[in-house]
């Protein structure tokens, strides 16, 4: 049954009686995220920072306030070498993924005419990511190995007489695998930024006499900077925290900070690993702050 209600006639609709102060409503709305971030981010961080000041021996940790975990970490030449090595990986992978990522995104955004085709090709880029990191990494081994695809191909073609040794279990293999793993993190944000560039800007630049290179350097690259910055943050933080790729692809011959921490933990040196983690965290945060200093990414978010 429907009832007809004439406007202005009879009892007005009851107003909702629950009235909370506006301030309280905002706090209640912010509570779930605060709880999640507090429980799963802040609390663990605080624990790591706390533990990093504790004492330990081969079997146990002792609550204390000692700084030798830091002095040992920062005073050791091995630590510095490992950090430098990790930074080297980060730089190489960043440079290569930025180069590949920009051109892939540029091709998708400016040379594919239909939006449908753009989406299809972009999805094709993401297909490898439907498999796990480890599988994608390990699948390089039969390609690069001593008797792998490339080496046997080269030997059959008569180009080399001995298998090329540096293809697998080397820094080259580590960088190659990381580039393979992380390029999409560069493509996606850059593609997103490039798609937002008004195509008439390119025409306006051409109208003003800009050559293709000038259009690229004066219009597209400056406008793509926020996307590049976001991609850089993704790739740099991922590479800085990576241990499995370094371990598998270098065959244990190369080290990274995260790998060092993993080794310390397997030796039950938790406070040392915690101190290392804090140093790494500070370093990565400084790098991200540096990137945000250079490029304003607020427009992208």
């Amino acid at each position: 049954m429907t009832t007809v209600r004439f406007i202005g006639v009879g009892e007005p609709k009851p107003k909702r009686s629950l009235r909370l102060p506006l301030k309280l409503v905002s706090y209640i709305q912010a509570t779930p995220l605060t709880l999640i971030l507090g429980a799963f981010l802040l609390l663990p961080l605080l624990m790591i920072v706390t533990v990093s000041f504790w004492d330990y021996d081969f079997a146990q940790m002792y609550p204390d306030f000692v700084t030798f975990n830091y002095t040992e970490t920062l005073g050791s030449w091995v630590t510095w070498k490992t950090y430098l090595n990790t930074l080297k990986f980060a730089f190489l992978v960043w440079a290569i993924t930025l180069f590949i990522g920009f051109w892939v995104a540029y091709f998708l955004a400016f040379h594919i005419r239909t939006a449908a085709m753009q989406m299809v090709l972009f999805l094709v880029c993401t297909v490898p990511f439907l498999t796990s990191n480890i599988i994608r990494m390990i699948s390089w081994i039969p390609v690069l190995g001593r008797n792998g695809l490339i080496n046997s191909g080269l030997i059959h073609a008569g180009l080399v007489s001995e298998p090329v040794e540096w293809l697998l279990y080397s820094d080259f293999a580590v960088v190659l695998a990381m580039v393979h793993l992380y390029t999409l993190f560069m493509v996606t944000p850059i593609f997103n930024t490039l798609m937002r560039i008004d195509k008439s800007l390119v025409e306006a630049a051409r109208d003003a006499g800009a050559s293709s290179v000038q259009v690229l350097t004066n219009v597209i690259l400056p406008l793509a900077k926020p996307g590049m910055a976001i991609g850089t943050i993704f790739v740099v933080t991922l590479v800085m925290a990576d241990f499995s790729t370094v371990q598998v692809m270098s065959g244990g011959q190369s080290a990274s900070v995260a790998l060092m921490m993993k080794n310390q933990m397997s030796l039950l040196q938790y406070p040392a690993a915690a101190a290392n983690a804090v140093v790494l965290l500070v370093l990565v945060l400084l790098m991200v702050a540096g990137i945000l200093r250079i490029v304003d990414i607020r427009k992208e978010l």
Binding site: A204, R206, G209
Partner: protein, 361 residues
Amino acid sequence: MTKAAEIDIASVSKVYGTTTAVHSISLKIPAGSYCCLLGPSGCGKTTTLRMIAGHETITSGDVLLGNKNVTDLAPAERGTAMMFQSYALFPHLDLVDNVAFSLKMKGVDKETRRAKALDMLKLMQLDAYATRRPAQLSGGQQQRVALARALITDPEALLLDEPLSALDPFLKVRMRAELKKLQTSLGITFVHVTHSQEEAMALADLVVVMNDGRIEQAAPPRTVFERPATAFVARFMGDHNVISGRVTEVSEGRLTLAVAAGASFSAPADTAEIGAPADIAIRTDRVQVGVDAADGYGFTGTINNIEYRGSSVKLAVNGAGIEDFTAILSDKVFFANPVKVGEAIQLSWNAEDVIVLGRPS
């Protein structure tokens, strides 16, 4: 003051795959004139402009700019400058760098180009905002920046793609006046694409009415309004009643047109083919009410709608097989003898207010 160039479009066509956007049009735009390409969306006017600018390849035909064939030249080599519909200002550059962009591309050193750009901004009264980014400006200011950026290349012709469409109605009228003033003072050729007949009549020396990739009429605005060439032009320009029918008789300098419902109207004409379809147009403001009509120059109908418009009143009348025949009466005439919706009314007009329209070939 500057070299203005005549633009000569010689049987230019544009074909996209299987659809033809522009059908072999020819047009001469005199040097130093203000030309408006007018038409509904999808009529090919923007495509035509972009072909003149060089942002669209020409399928066949030639574009000449001041006796120089520019058909295969790059946009910047043509001596034209284009102002884009959304202005296309570079969001990452301040106003000075936006305006100086083309000089930078040419390799002019920083001091010179910035000085020149500042002069240009001063001309546009924007020097106070020189270090701002485009996003910090209002629509009218952005338009002036776009103008400054286009004019700094010292072009022979300025091509404007719907320059006023992004502005609010009040600003539109003001910027319209500024555009006309600028064109007069620079003396260069302006080609302006618009879908507003009001804008075209206010600005143009030459109005080019386009429809479906063809030019329907290219003439001064007064001619286009007073003697529209085709039924499309009469309808698009507005303020005309178009009556379509078949010619039944031609005699003594007048033809008789029979509409489908049986009524017939007269129009002055020397020759016409008996039985051929024809259109005539009657200006809405030349229609008289309550005056007995001479034979074939009026009809009786019922009032369908009345709109009060301040200084005038618009009547829509149905009758004699014609729907929504419009009569614009001055408020004085209307209120001296007011009528109501549904009443019968006698409409009439003078023989010289009837225009026989041509048919597009």
